[in-house]
């Protein structure tokens, strides 16, 4: 009954109520969309982090340690360190690939059979480099899906030949597998400058480049303990093993992940704050609406008091109305906001994520706002002197 009457009174204020509803809806809409962007962004980054191997780390010579060489013994030694599950030699070389008539700049990596775990590449067709390839110094490779699409127009080109420019000469490789493009651990470490990767056995790479050592050693860290302090410990341990001061550095994503998450949550927070301010503004609109409504209904309040309404009855009546007003506005805002989030995710081909926490939060926040900004008008109504109200 109370709710019905409140709704009726809201409808009575037609234009004014509609504008107020709009104001609240826009505020809530902004909050939902902005936190939607935040949630989706964070999720994208996190999932990228996971696919690129959040637990992997890369040991390489620092600028000061240019002449340090990494060998098979180092791989074995590093793999025995506390907190390290696996170690893998890694060779790197800028390259050019030729597939059919298409020449593309790419980056060639010499890896072993552990690449899947350590730098988290994944074969979508065929297979990855295996132990046999490494032992046989095979002329096989795994290429990025993008390379396949750019040349053949399809992704499954397992068994085709690819010509790679390595150490100044062209070499023909057989494509053993096609890997998912983007956001592998290595691509992340290359800061995304070089887009397409080709993976070959590191032994083959050594043969071609005439090297017997490695450029880098990739480590798979123990997932539970992989944090920044582990990275620091490992850095001093590998330097000790190689008898250098700062000759080796370890790069991993722990610190990057933390930083990125910090930036993301700060940006989201600042944006949400701005959106929150718009909610406060709409709260003030609610107050104005309610004050006008109290003014218009002074006589009605007088009548109600004359027939026995207590101050708290009048108070509750107006409070209910302002809470209902904001609740309806925020429901509209939430509906539109989630719709925009969902459509945005679909258009951008991302998994649809609704920021439920913000949706709930902004709903209750705006309802609380309705109550808060409704209190003054409601008190004003409740405290009206009945005879003065009746004379109105």
């Amino acid at each position: 009954m109370g709710l019905g009457r409140a709704l009726k009174n809201i409808r009575r204020g037609k234009g004014r109520s509609a504008l107020t509803l709009c104001g609240v809806a826009v505020g809530v809409f902004a909050v939902v969309v902005i936190s939607g962007i935040g949630v989706v962004g964070t999720q994208q980054v996190t999932s990228a982090m996971v696919t690129m191997g959040i637990n992997s780390a890369l040991v390489e010579a620092s600028e000061s340690g240019g002449d340090i060489v990494l060998t098979d013994e180092d791989v074995a030694a590093f793999s025995r360190l506390d907190g390290v599950n696996k170690a893998m030699p890694l060779m790197a070389s800028p390259s050019e690939s030729k597939l059919l008539e298409t020449s593309l700049v790419c980056y060639a990596w010499g890896v072993d059979q552990d690449a899947k775990d350590i730098i988290s590449i994944e074969a979508i067709h065929g297979r990855l480099i295996n132990e046999g390839d490494v032992e046989a110094h095979a002329m096989t490779c795994v290429i990025d899906e993008v390379l396949a699409r750019n040349s053949y127009g399809r992704s499954n080109i397992v068994g085709k030949k690819i010509r790679l420019l390595l150490a100044g000469g062209y070499y023909d490789f057989e494509i053993a597998g096609v890997a998912k493009s983007g956001m592998t651990g290595l691509q992340n470490m290359m800061s995304g400058i070089i887009p397409d990767f080709v993976y070959i056995p590191y032994t083959t790479m050594q043969d071609i480049s005439g090297k017997t050592n490695f450029d880098k050693i990739a480590l798979l860290l123990d997932g539970d303990n992989a944090d920044e302090s582990l990275t620091d410990d490992l850095t001093s341990e590998v330097n000790q093993l190689k008898n250098t001061e700062n000759g080796l550095i370890i790069t991993n994503f722990q610190s990057q992940k933390g930083q990125l998450n910090n930036i993301l949550s700060t940006v989201t927070m600042v944006l949400s704050l701005i959106a929150g301010i718009s909610l406060v503004v709409s709260g003030i609109t609610v107050m104005t609406t309610m004050l006008v409504s109290v003014g218009e209904r002074t006589r009605e309040i007088g009548i109600k008091k004359s027939i026995g309404a207590e101050n708290k009855d009048i108070m509750l009546e107006f409070l209910l109305e302002s809470v209902l007003l904001t609740a309806m506005g925020s429901l509209i805002g939430i509906a539109l906001g989630t719709l925009v989030c969902a459509v945005g995710c679909v258009v951008l081909e991302m998994p649809v994520l609704i920021p439920f926490k913000s949706v709930l939060l902004s709903f209750f926040f705006s309802a609380a706002m309705g109550a808060l900004f409704g209190v003054y008008p409601a008190m004003k109504a409740a405290r009206l002197n009945p005879i003065e109200a009746l004379r109105n």
Partner: protein, 220 residues
């Protein structure tokens, strides 16, 4: 039931300005009485009714309602007394324009926290008693003045308070509608309600058991 002694009411519409609306009024109304308070416009009738109806409080003097000193009560206690003991019938009807006749009549019961089923039944009977059972879902604007005043009477009937305070209830009505309203007030009185009728119409006043004449805030 109503006992008033040396009641004074001074309005201060603005600082330094004072209007003495009631000046030492003493009167009594017994349970079941039909009393008319008669006086010219501006003589203080409405002021007196507002105090009797617990809508306002006196500046000086005593007012006891059923032995209770009204000047000592809080605003929520006054609301409760209005809710339980008093029904007003105003010259301007004072119906809520957005509520239907039935909803208007129902309002006092809502504030008394009467359950919905009981309310509906009571309102139906009240509207029947004033001959408006077919107009329950009409808004006040869709009713004539006489019908609106009958809705106000139905509201008083539904509230079933022992005291009816009617301030110029026929003031805005033609003589036929006015007569029918007067008849209903008498009917209410016959069922045991105490009725205080405020009027400047001598003819109407003469139908009451007793007349109290007021002039310039004093009882004559």
């Amino acid at each position: 039931m109503i006992r008033i002694k040396e009641l004074t009411k001074i309005y201060s519409p603005s600082a330094g300005q004072q209007v003495k609306a009631l000046d030492g009024v003493s009167m009594e109304v017994r349970e079941g009485e039909f009393v008319a308070i008669v006086g010219a416009s501006g003589s203080g009738k409405t002021t007196l009714m507002n105090i009797i109806g617990c809508l306002d409080t006196q500046t000086d003097g005593e007012y006891f309602l059923d032995g209770e000193d009204i000047s000592q009560l809080s605003s929520s206690q006054l609301s409760r007394i209005r809710s339980e003991k008093i029904s007003f019938i105003f010259q301007g009807f004072n119906l809520i324009p957005t509520l239907t006749a039935a909803e208007n009549a129902e309002l006092p019961l809502i504030y008394r926290r009467i359950p919905a089923a009981k309310r509906r039944e009571t309102v139906m009977r009240a509207l029947e008693a004033v001959g408006l059972e077919k107009r329950g879902d009409h808004l006040p604007a869709e009713l004539s003045g006489g019908q609106q005043q009958r809705v106000a009477i139905a509201r008083a009937l539904a509230a079933d308070a022992p005291i009816i305070l009617a301030d110029e209830p026929c003031g805005n009505l033609d003589s036929r509608a006015g007569a029918s309203v007067m008849e209903m007030l008498h009917e209410l009185n016959r069922t045991g309600k105490t009725v205080v009728l405020i009027t400047h119409d001598n003819g109407a006043a003469l139908t009451a058991h007793r007349q109290v004449r007021i002039s310039d805030g004093r009882i004559m």
